[in-house]
């Protein structure tokens, strides 16, 4: 009995002694005392391949820096960004007002950088030989909440009297937010009786396996599956020209309204760190932009990249001066 008590007393004393040697430091101070720190990126699954490629090449140039990239979706990433938990958020849509308000509340300042363009592709099965293209009004009729369109013949009497099987991203996705905003007029306004998935490869498989299907997702997934899918050219209204999602049309800005910029949001306070500053510069450099094309997205034209580059330079100068 006595022995047991002495044991536990010794254990408690030991633990006390151990915690006595400890000291509580701010994380930033701890870095100087030898703790390693990494560049933490999170957010959109659409932007993930770009940030991953940039991180991979950046680490080859700077082996001492570690970059980790997560995937929580644009909204999920912003939830962490506004708390200061991550350095950079990948976003497939601009930051929303509620998120801006939370940033202010937590005194998080950010710099928004456009890094690539994506052309949301509306796709059908390769056996679909009746539909040459859709207008924005038709797309809205299909996807709006309480839509009356259920069959192809509801759109055009000459088209098959068959149910349209719909596939699209799930509601956590920035792609969903963007599509519903430009097509249905309000972010998040969509019919709900479609097959949603966070995995775009499942959407690809769904549409490629069903003659009467229709779906939408990011350009990279269409570009990789051109043999199995057909992208519908889109017209702004009934009188205008139908524009197909191609590299040229997306880059030149002709593919409207479904072309969307892809962003990264960097925490300005973290931009004062040398590794973060160098990483962002590399992201916006010509090498970085080359990687955008390599992973299947459309890079920014010389004209379009000027503005984010200048914005980054200004942010880095002002943060370094602080």
């Amino acid at each position: 009995m006595l022995q047991g008590r002495m044991w536990s007393a010794g254990l408690v004393l030991g633990l006390l002694g151990l915690s006595g040697c400890g000291e509580l430091q701010d994380a930033s101070n701890a870095d100087q005392t030898g703790g390693k720190k990494q560049i933490v990126i999170d957010g959109s699954s659409t932007v993930l391949p770009i940030s991953q490629a940039v991180a991979e090449e950046f680490e080859k140039l700077h082996p001492e820096v570690r970059v980790v990239v997560g995937r929580s979706g644009t909204g999920g990433g912003f939830k962490k960004f506004v708390l200061g938990e991550i350095d950079i958020n990948n976003a497939s849509r601009p930051i929303e007002n509620t998120e801006i308000a939370k940033c202010r509340e937590n005194k998080i300042e950010y710099v928004e950088l456009t890094v690539a363009i994506d052309g949301l592709s509306v796709v059908v099965n390769t056996q679909n030989d009746w539909c040459p293209g859709l207008t924005v009004a038709q797309l809205k009729a299909i996807w709006e909440p309480n839509s009356k369109i259920n069959k192809w013949s509801d759109l055009d009497a000459a088209w098959p009297n068959k149910t349209i099987k719909l596939y699209g991203p799930d509601t956590d996705s920035g792609t969903f937010d963007y599509f519903t905003e430009v097509i249905c007029g309000e972010s998040g306004a969509s019919r709900s009786d479609y097959t949603p998935s966070a995995d775009d490869n499942l959407l690809v498989r769904g549409v490629s396996g069903d003659k009467y299907s229709l779906g939408y997702f990011g350009y990279a997934y269409y570009a990789e599956n051109k043999n199995e899918l057909r992208a519908l050219p889109i017209a702004v209204d009934a009188g205008s020209e139908f524009i197909a999602p191609t590299d040229q049309n997306i880059e030149s800005g002709k593919y409207v309204p479904l072309s969307r910029p892809l962003f990264i949001y960097a925490n300005r306070a973290e931009c004062a760190r040398k590794d973060v500053a160098e990483f962002l510069n590399f992201y916006m450099s010509d090498e970085g932009q080359k990687l955008v094309g390599e992973v299947g997205y459309v890079r920014l034209s010389e004209e379009l990249i000027k503005e984010p580059r200048e914005r980054l330079a200004a942010a880095l100068v002002s943060e370094a001066a602080k």
């Binding site: 151990l18 915690s19 040697c21 400890g22 000291e23 509580l24 430091q25 701010d26 994380a27 101070n29 701890a30 005392t33 030898g34 703790g35 390693k36 990494q38 933490v40 999170d42 699954s45 993930l48 391949p49 940030s51 991953q52 490629a53 991180a55 991979e56 680490e59 570690r66 970059v67 980790v68 990239v69 997560g70 995937r71 929580s72 962490k80 708390l83 200061g84 938990e85 937590n106 005194k107 966070a198 995995d199 775009d200 490869n201 990011g218 990279a220 997934y221 570009a223 990789e224 599956n225 990687l291 390599e294 992973v295 299947g296």
Partner: protein, 348 residues
């Protein structure tokens, strides 16, 4: 019966024939049911085997030529040919180590208390029922719990992360507060996830030890502690070990709670920079840092590859799944080995 059938002439003759027929029919149909039942059971077995074979064949076919030494020792890459699972393997190893470190002692301790010491009160029964319920809670729920409890620690430390630095002789222990998206947060979450399973399995094993053994031990003057230490625990160890390893096998394939507590998709380092078992001895600072570093795990990397838009990553994902299956097989095989080893030692 006989009154009702009276209107029919020569009834008794007929009935006897009918009865004779029925008897043979009945025994035949009983036999038939027996044969059909055996066939159904046999089919059930072969069905699961067939599914497994199809799955494995598909995986091996898809991963053929992709699962090589480079795949095992490379970090992830945007080029399918260069992508590897090294970071995931080490992430999973550290996760499992800490998960077992936390869940096994606590789980077995709780089981011993509940089986050997706890009085059969209403409270005990309440705990018992809740444990069984907890074992069935979806893993994502534990992920959410882990996110608030360990990753953010309820926001108690505000926006500025603190580091508790403790100087040990051979290195510095630097504990981030809150724990953030680290190996330790994930391991604690997985520990919570498998603890009910460990407790329930350990309880089953303890219960299987015959009461006569305990009584015999008491009769010889042994104390409760001596009885548990020298009789009950050794006898139930094989069962406990099997339960623990099966629970850990469940944890190693978990994806949802890891995503929730913030496992990363793209990581090009191993926790603590430890790349081989020798580093564990030569790099004590790395060992101390490992639990507090961002990580990825095998199932997380597989998820990233499965959802990648480039088709070649299907093969990379298949190779990753095979690695995960091999790890699982090794763990289950070791469960069987351990059980056999300890079972043969028990002699009453």
């Amino acid at each position: 019966m006989s009154e009702q059938s009276q209107p029919v002439p020569h009834q008794s003759d007929e009935q006897s024939t009918v009865n004779g027929l029925q008897r043979t029919n009945a025994s035949r149909s009983k036999q038939r049911i027996g044969v059909a039942f055996e066939f159904a059971c046999r089919m059930s077995t072969w069905f699961s085997v067939a599914v497994l074979v199809v799955l494995l064949a598909g995986l091996i076919w898809k991963s053929w030529g992709w699962l090589d030494a480079d795949f095992l020792t490379n970090f992830d890459s945007r080029h399918p040919g260069e992508a590897g699972i090294w970071a995931g393997i080490w992430g999973s190893v550290w996760l499992m180590f800490f998960t077992m470190l936390f869940s096994v002692p606590i789980g077995i301790g709780a089981a011993i208390y509940l089986e050997e010491y706890a009085p059969p009160t209403r409270l005990t029964r309440f705990i018992q029922i809740n444990l069984s319920n907890l074992a069935g809670v979806p893993s994502i729920v534990y992920g959410i719990l882990g996110l608030t409890t360990f990753v953010r620690m309820f926001g108690a430390f505000g926006a500025n992360q603190k580091v508790l630095a403790i100087s040990l002789g051979f290195g510095n222990l630097r504990i981030p507060l809150p724990l953030d998206r680290t190996v330790l947060s994930a391991a604690l979450t997985l520990s919570l996830l498998i603890m009910p399973v460990v407790i329930v399995a350990a309880q089953e094993a303890l219960r299987a030890v015959p009461g006569s053994i305990r009584h015999g031990s008491f009769a010889l003057g042994a104390t409760k502690w001596q009885t548990i230490r020298h009789q009950v625990l050794p006898a139930s160890l094989p069962g406990i070990l099997t339960g623990v390893i099966l629970a850990v096998s469940r944890a190693i394939g978990e994806t949802a709670p890891l995503l929730m507590v913030g496992a990363f998709m793209f990581v090009t380092s191993t926790p603590g920079g430890i790349q081989n078992p020798v580093d564990l001895l030569t790099n004590p600072q790395g060992v101390l840092d490992a639990p507090f570093e961002p990580f990825t795990a095998i199932p997380i990397q597989i998820l990233n590859w499965v959802q990648h838009h480039k088709h070649e990553f299907e093969h990379v994902a298949a190779a990753g799944i095979i690695v995960l299956l091999v790890v699982l097989l090794v763990m289950n095989a070791s469960a069987v080995l351990l059980r056999n080893r300890y079972q043969s030692k028990v002699r009453w």
